[in-house]
Assembly symmetry: C2
Homo-oligomer: 499 residues x 2
């Protein structure tokens, strides 16, 4: 085989993988946004077959030979081709290590687990979900051994969602959070609460839709390449760097829910829109990890979107969209109201300060489940005790406790930490950005272009061509250090609550 | 090979084809309804690759052997499996007869032709389109020889869109139309025109959307399996018999355009929704031909939707949706207004009576182009002369003349006649239906369920398991006879215009 032919074959393989992923993205998007309710069966048949076709395309001996050939001559490859070979080889080895029948059985289990979990949640019936969770944990433990037999199982799982992250690093991270945030939260909870009554009332959905347009324009989201639709739970998906879609959900009695979800998803979208063209149609297109992705969405949502300069600049637009609803509200009042801290039961409704504590609960439980130190049956009691300890709230039932999230029933263990990591990454990025860019001057004029240009240069354009740690160091000028995050939260909330 | 294994392989092959077609349907639907404007390139890459994958799946020697094996033992197959083998073998032979490089070159040409045609239409520049049309004609002539070397080329093309139809039958059909409709139209044009001023004015789009819901409910379109979206040009598409989507376009100054497009597309949708479950995920799922499909859409749109009983029953709903706009309008007035005849230049805006004359113009030109009796350069003059002869209108420019339709630039020659055939099929079906069902009693009560049940039994459920001619004979109780259609039009419009 000639090297140039092999490189050509590698490119063709990735283009074909892209086509299957594109189809999967759009079919799933259509399902959530436009498809009539009774159409799941035929779509399931199509998606299952297409996944099988994509699997067949990749998991075969010729691909193994091609990748081995290129790997042997990797010194002769340019940087991006070498990175493609590394990533594909990693995926290939992983796939070939998991016995096909185990993978199929796990897929089957996860499919069924979704319905079991949904019913268990509605009926507040953890015992119904318990055996499924037990099985999912044991599959994850087994797969961890396939992923990397030299690592502790939970480390191998963490590495799937955030390459290079492990229990040692996360223990340090979360213990810093515990030491700094739990006492901070206790002080905040004892202080008088800001008034946010003006955020509740009647906010016509048509005006909220127009506000979404305002926000997307303000964020520099190019509407020729970024669509918006409505779904129960907001999300971002993308077919490539020229075709990104965000979704939101409008509540007629509350405009901030959709407003911050648009800014959050807009952050994800800017990341995908900013990936370099040269990475398109390869395995390096797209954001590098969940943690880095969340760093972008949470940076825009919380660090920018919930900052006083941003809110001051946005206030006239809000007053125009909702005439009479915000009379007498000034920037300081709006800033206090949208940053009101409220220890609560539900992760996805949590404020910026309590959010990482919700994640910490899940981290501790996952770690013990995978280590075999806890069984599924022990989860509710552990959950409730940790919510009491970290957040100071009493969990009244499992529906609002350990049954609230879809991640475990979806088969994912080791995914949650990336949410908290993303927030912490963002705080460290901010400090470095502030050295190079007049962040708050721009934001205060309603101009996010410098912020986005900086993130694009340091993070977005690289897609998956660098590792998460490299991207982070690019953006922070130093390795990851969680104290930036705890300092950021301490300063912001101490000032807000006059502590 | 065991017969049972071969049948199993046949089923798997068709399920895989289904998955690719499903993806193609949804990506194309998304492109027309939701995708941002700048997303065509990446979608084009994905669709091109997926089409290539589907082609590779089918056009290979193993499939040829499988089909040959099953064909040899077709006496042992059940009816539906035998029909699948017949259809797939036909497609396989066709594909294997067209040299791959010619097929690729033609696909390339058609891709480029679309842009050339669009620009030529905007700029009223037929000479720019002429060389492309010449090439498309010559490819079609060549392909006709591959499709069926024993047939005259235009007959082979017609057979692609309406199996079993040929020039001899269409000449009889169109000469009947010419003899009966051209003089009828001349009389209508000389008569006083009905008043339709009340159809124009201000009709809020929100109310028109609600009217679409009313109409879909009235037609018995199951919203769990049939969606509606908005596009520039209305169409119907379906992924399977449980996932059908229609589209429409709302004009704020005119509610009948969208109203009749919803009824028309609803007719297509009922056909696809009515295909039997046992045909799903096989090549026999879906409507059997363009002509039969148009028979269903035009049946609902014109024969039912523009009938007096239907309009009488609908009028209270219209008055409720558009308060004050239809005061003093009664069923007779509405019936006359929506059936106003207006010889015009544009096919897609034509009324029921003049519509087939638009098709007749295209038929005569296509026939001569493919026979080599006319060149692309002769088209404008021929077009304009025929519009004068059949419709009595002067064509002021090619933009509103021979450049108006996308079919030729899309590579399709022989497609147009199915539009006129569909209308004629519907008229003949009506007479047979009236013998078995109280059509107008039900329609007059706003109840279309008996009409739909009859069509479902005679036509819809069969999908492509019968030929178009068999379906038609099923529904009409006799072979195709165009005089039902000319009688229907003559009676309806003579009464309407008091001739």
């Amino acid at each position: 085989m000639q090297l140039s032919d092999a490189i050509q074959q590698l490119s063709q393989l990735q283009r074909r993988q892209y086509a299957y992923q594109h189809a999967q993205v759009i079919l799933t998007l259509d399902a959530a946004t436009a498809a009539p309710s009774g159409t799941a069966e035929g779509r399931g048949v199509a998606l299952g077959i297409l996944a099988g076709e994509e699997h067949r395309l990749f998991a075969n001996e010729e691909v193994g030979k091609l990748l081995a050939f290129l790997d042997e001559r990797k010194e002769e490859l340019d940087f991006l081709t070498r990175r493609q070979v590394e990533e594909l080889l990693r995926a290939y080895r992983k796939l070939s290590r998991i016995p096909a029948e185990e993978y199929m059985a796990f897929s089957q289990l996860v499919n069924e687990a979704d319905a079991v979990w949904r019913r268990a949640k509605v009926e507040n019936d953890f015992p119904a979900f318990r055996p499924v969770l037990d099985q999912i944990v044991s599959y994850n433990r087994k797969f961890a051994g396939y992923y990397d037999p030299d690592k502790a199982p939970y480390d191998a799982l963490l590495d799937e969602y955030e390459r290079g992250m492990d229990t040692a690093a996360l223990d340090r991270f979360f213990s810093t959070l515990r030491e700094r945030l739990v006492p901070l939260l206790q002080k905040v909870a004892a202080a008088p609460r800001p008034d946010d009554r003006f955020l509740h009332g009647s906010f016509p959905v048509e005006e909220q839709r127009a506000l979404s347009e305002d926000l997307m324009e303000r964020m520099g989201l190019d509407r020729e390449h970024c669509g918006i639709a409505e779904t129960e739970h907001p999300f971002t998906t993308n077919a490539n760097n020229k075709d990104v879609r965000i979704t939101t959900h409008y509540y007629p009695d509350n405009f901030t829910s959709s407003m911050f979800s648009v800014i959050h998803e807009g952050g994800h979208a800017l990341y995908e829109l900013g990936v370099a063209d040269e990475l398109q149609y390869t395995c390096l297109a797209g954001g590098v990890s969940m943690g880095i992705h969340e760093s972008q969405s949470r940076f825009y949502e919380n660090i920018i979107g919930r900052s006083r300069p941003f809110l001051e600049a946005l206030l006239p637009t809000l007053k125009k969209r909702f005439p009479g609803r915000l009379d007498g509200v000034d920037g300081a009042m709006l800033y206090r109201a949208v940053n009101r801290v409220e220890p609560s039961l539900i992760r996805i409704e949590a404020d910026e300060l309590t959010y990482p504590l919700h994640i910490m609960v899940r981290y501790e439980i996952e770690k013990k489940l995978i280590a075999g130190e806890m069984e599924a049956g022990d989860v509710p009691a552990a959950w409730n005790a940790l919510y009491q300890e970290y957040l100071g709230v009493e969990v009244p039932d499992d529906r609002r406790g350990c049954l609230q999230d879809s991640h475990w029933s979806g088969g994912s263990i080791g995914y949650f930490p990336s949410y908290a990591l993303g927030s912490a990454y963002g705080a460290q990025m901010l400090r470095n950005m502030e050295r190079e860019v007049d962040v708050w001057g721009g934001v205060g004029r309603g101009d996010l272009s410098q912020v986005t240009a900086w993130l694009r240069e340091k993070i977005h354009r690289h897609g998956s061509s660098l590792t998460p740690a490299q991207v982070l160091e690019n953006a922070c000028g130093a390795p990851f250090d969680p104290t930036y995050y705890t300092d950021y939260l301490t300063e912001k909330y101490s000032a807000l609550y006059g502590l």
